[in-house]
Symmetry: C2
């Protein structure tokens, strides 16, 4: 569903005010008869749709009873509690993913990569639920589905077969998880998921929490396999805390090796874990995307999915306060995410998709620092949210 639309007086990525013209759902050159439908952007900043590069749509508890979290701090305790909650709470992946999308759409999130659990208890139920929501809301947002072995793959017989079935059922990306600390066999885990990706001709996205030298070793294994299978530009590593824990020479060498294979990384900017060295990463040309990870679930009780607020978190985590640095974190949550997710037609050039979010702010830095909420969200020329209020004609969600 596309529209023609003239947007007057908008400032793309904080630059000079221009008129933007969308025809047939794509940006077009100005000139000729302008579209009849027009909105006044009042000098607000235009960002291309915000990109949520890492979340878990099937696990949010938005709109459900408060989940009293008494879970211990280890990752294993949390995985067990997460699986138990799926059983006990009856989390409906179709309904919950729609609720999260409705919430983040108001912030201007138009592209989402969601990891979705695949395990021997729930089977493909969550994959199917999120894929149903994706179809129902396809006119609002793009969703990439990662088949994610949250509970482990090698230690739980049957999971690899379920991953294969998830790809056949419509998942877009093969997920992986800590190849050493959870899978207990980094080579066998990575060989298995790279083979799966190769067989289905799909990209890979690996949750890598392994620390220090162990994480660095796993990254090296990922680099080797990306090169061997010519998967350049098709592999993302999520978290990769280890990159913030190495001595400077090793750190730079590893970042350069990742960049050389056009592997991208995703960081949440969480304050309780090592920070990715964003300045060095940028200098080395490594693509960085960002995401919210879980929103209001059993893992973490907070989160609103606002990727402009996420840009603020990235800046705060890295001790960045000046305007240029804040603009860079805004870039990560837009263009960085688009590159990491392999989106085409993203941006304001002629022929790009007519997607944007208008943010009432004087500078990009102010947009990041104060995250104003009365945004206008436009997709393919259609106004989905106007000054923070969803349009009346949106498909009903739930």
């Amino acid at each position: 569903m596309t529209k023609d639309l003239l947007i007057r007086n908008a400032r793309p990525f904080g630059g000079e005010a221009v008129n933007l013209v969308i025809r047939g759902g794509r940006f077009s050159a100005a000139g000729g008869e302008p579209p009849a439908e027009a909105i006044d952007a009042a000098g607000h900043i235009a960002l291309p749709g915000l990109v949520e590069a890492h979340t878990h749509l099937d696990k949010t508890l938005i709109g459900m009873d408060w989940f009293e979290n008494g879970i211990g701090p280890t990752r294993n305790e949390r995985i067990l509690a997460d699986r138990k909650a799926k059983r006990d709470l009856g989390i409906d992946a179709r309904r919950q993913s729609a609720r999260q999308i409705a919430q983040t759409l108001k912030h201007g999130v138009l592209h989402i990569r969601s990891h979705v659990d695949v395990d021997t208890e729930i089977g493909l139920a969550n994959i199917e639920g999120v894929i149903e929501t994706r179809a129902a809301l396809r006119d609002l947002v793009d969703v990439q589905v990662v088949a994610f072995p949250q509970s482990g793959m090698l230690p739980r017989a049957g999971t690899l077969e379920l991953m294969d079935a998830a790809m056949k059922a419509g998942a877009d990306i093969v997920g992986g998880i800590d190849p050493a600390t959870i899978e207990r066999d980094p080579v066998r885990h990575l060989d298995a998921i790279f083979a799966l990706a190769d067989r289905h001709a799909k990209p890979i996205d690996i949750h890598l929490h392994e620390l220090g030298d162990l994480g660095a070793f796993c990254l090296e294994l990922i680099v080797e396999r990306t090169r061997a299978l010519a998967l350049q530009g098709r592999v993302m590593v999520s978290h990769a805390y280890c990159l913030g824990m190495l001595d400077p020479a090793r750190q730079r060498a590893l970042i350069e090796a990742l960049a050389a294979e056009r592997i991208s990384v995703m960081t949440v900017g969480s304050p309780a874990v090592p920070a990715l060295p964003l300045r060095l990463i940028r200098e080395c040309g490594l693509v960085v995307a960002s995401g919210s990870d879980g929103i209001q679930g059993t893992w973490e009780p907070w989160g609103n999915g606002d990727m402009l607020e996420r840009a603020k978190y990235l800046a705060q985590r890295n001790g960045m306060t000046n305007d240029a640095d804040l603009a860079e974190t805004a870039r990560i949550c837009t263009f960085g995410g688009a590159e990491g997710l392999g989106l085409s037609g993203y941006g304001f050039a002629e022929g790009d998709f007519g997607d944007l979010v208008l943010v009432p702010a004087r500078t990009l830095a102010e947009a990041v620092a104060l995250t104003p909420q009365k945004r206008t969200v436009i997709r393919r020329g259609r106004v989905l949210v106007h000054d923070g209020v969803p349009a009346a004609d949106l498909p009903s969600i739930e």
Copy 2:
């Protein structure tokens, strides 16, 4: 200005629903004829007024032109830029402090400790400006003024005399600043500010950013002087990053030494600096308060002064996600702050001041995680903000 008020169906600090009665501005026992004026709290959580234990009211740029921050990352570059901005931007401390108070009142902040610059360029102008605002808004919020030598005291002749004059002009607390890295003489700096506090019979609050062993040494000097001058319960150390950087034995010993002299600490929970070990600190009985530090100023472009959001930052910084831990961070931003600031009559007991903020949340953890904004703020029985909307009869601010 006090009122009698009945508050029905409120849950003090997330507990059972009760009716609260305020008479003559203080909580009173139920029973007898209830006050004629009543509000329905609808089962919302009641927190005593949120406590902002560390901010800089004289430096916020709220409502002014966007300040384009091109400042380098060192503390010295930032101090120079801060002093230059005060000159160039003409920051009016009276007006700006009122603007910040108006903003944070909506969140339910009823107690503020503000450091206020004293230096040889601005003299006492900022102290006088904030004291003027304090008087104008005394029916809305309590403000403690710290005379703060932001630009250094020993290296800038005349500053100590200005500090003395600030205390005579009505400042409540003697401030200090990095005794080694800025002052270049920890003993002489601390001796000077402890002597000033002793002479004026006022408490002390020291900005201590010194790292590792240097910071620990400064803390030891502070402990010794607190003991010698019998200032137990009257000294706060702000930031104290070093407490998060020591080996476990040294860390515990130092925390116990601080607790023994009833020195309190204040942490912002910033993600870019070492985190205070909140669990150990609690175990040792050291009082912790929290604050926003600067809000929307030249140091940092962000901040809204919501101390419930601050509780979330503390939890995130410490990797805390379960309900009990989140309740503890809410305690730090209320009762912890009150104890650190030496407030009397704080809480829900009979005779305590009739101050509270109603937060629409099911549990304390939800209040911290989601920081709902439609709060009702009551001070001395008077409704200042109702469901997020300031009362019509508030004194005009500016």
